[in-house]
């Protein structure tokens, strides 16, 4: 039987990828960030040992254009390419998919009335890439986990509601538990925390709100998920609205969760949050 063995929330920021690729791990401005992820990377490698990770992310004008924009798009391929975001491809290996598991998810979720767009080809930008090498050790050619990318529209309103994202997580949990193979599944919700890249309020961050978020997503996720997009964006910035992707992860976890690790750092224009959760029930 499939089992959800970890829930992780993690911001995605392009500059983190650049710092990683330029090996700035011990640069004073970046060391706190890399040190912050280290315990979670260790936990995942030594205790969680996931076979596959469902990573919830959004594209940033890289692979999807506004001619045809999905609300939720699920990867159903055997492998996924690292996208070139216009500055050359990052030196990361392409990602192995788990097409059989993806197909199970797709069949289950569509039957469960989630109207997914299904992708047989999908190149992944920093929305997906940022967290992966911080959470899983890779070499030049391989990753230790298979991946299932799950894209959420957080770019063009109407966005899915926070509650819909939460319900999608709940449905993912049911689907995983109905999977006949003994597969250990980690779910990663990416994005946020507070940031704004738009208008006169460019650069807005809200550290207080972010810190509350890291607690409330554990204790009262349904209340958080009931906030309107306007409420979230007013507090956390226009692009901070993408925190709804964390609800997919949280909905996939048990009602009560146990915090394994928490980290927060807000150096520039994004409140960078990391949260690692275990199921309690």
């Amino acid at each position: 039987m499939g089992k959800i063995v970890a829930g992780i929330g993690s911001s995605h920021v392009p500059s983190i990828g650049r710092a990683y690729d330029q090996q700035k791990q011990t640069d004073p401005a970046w060391q706190p960030l890399f040190d912050g992820y280290e315990p979670v990377k260790r936990w995942l490698a030594e205790e969680v040992k996931a076979d596959v990770v469902i990573l919830v992310y959004n594209d940033h004008g890289t692979e999807f254009f506004l001619d045809c924009y999905p609300t939720f798009a699920l990867g159903v391929a055997d492998s996924y390419a690292v996208a070139d975001e216009g500055y050359g491809k990052r030196p990361l290996p392409d990602f192995p998919g788990d097409a059989a598991f993806s197909e199970h998810l797709a069949n289950h979720l569509v039957a469960d009335e989630f109207d997914l767009t299904l992708c047989q080809e999908m190149a992944l930008d920093h929305g997906f890439l940022t967290a992966m090498p911080l959470l899983w050790e890779h070499d030049d050619t391989a990753w230790p986990v298979k991946v299932v990318p799950l894209l959420v529209n957080v770019i063009q309103h109407p966005l899915p509601t926070g509650q819909r994202c939460y319900k999608l997580g709940e449905a993912i949990r049911r689907a995983v538990e109905a999977y006949p193979e003994d597969t250990r599944v980690a779910v990663v919700g990416t994005g946020g925390l507070s940031h704004q890249l738009n208008g006169e309020r460019f650069g807005h961050i809200n550290e207080e709100w972010d810190k509350q978020w890291l607690q409330r997503i554990q204790d009262e996720p349904r209340e958080l998920a009931a906030l309107s997009h306007k409420e979230v964006m007013t507090a956390a910035g226009a692009e901070g609205g993408e925190v709804i992707m964390w609800f997919v992860m949280r909905g996939a976890m048990t009602e009560r969760v146990e915090e394994v690790h928490r980290f927060y750092y807000a150096p520039m224009t994004t409140g960078i949050g990391l949260l690692a959760l275990n199921n309690s029930d």
């Binding site: 500059s15 710092a19 640069d27 004073p28 401005a29 970046w30 960030l33 940033h60 004008g61 890289t62 254009f65 506004l66 001619d67 070139d84 216009g86 500055y87 770019i155 063009q156 309103h157 109407p158 704004q196 890249l197 738009n198 208008g199 006169e200 309020r201 460019f202 650069g203 807005h204 306007k230 964006m233 007013t234 910035g237 226009a238 807000a266 150096p267 520039m268 224009t269």
Partner: protein
Amino acid sequence: MSDTQERWGIPGTYVFDLALSRQGYAINKMCNSLKFDENREAFKADEEAYMERYGLSEEQKQAIRERDWLRLTQLGGNLFFFLKLGATLGYGLYTIGAQMRGESYEQFMSTRNVPGAT
């Protein structure tokens, strides 16, 4: 600000909803095309012809001529797409952001917690 943006009512913020997306579709389609090097070259060789090819309005063209990123946002440009225009023209994210705030790059950087983390 359009009616739609007044409906959102978040100060200094242009929510990219369907109304704004439709208004800015030509901008974003043009900017999206700049993901390919040959298109970047074509744009640089003749900006006016390139903008014309994508059917931008005069207002939209003018915002691009003036590298006025705030105006471009108000006219429906989406940053994730017009960053490709920025890259073509040598404008980075923080330069664009500082301009939208009405600040110099240095002023903007001085408002950050750890300006070295770029």
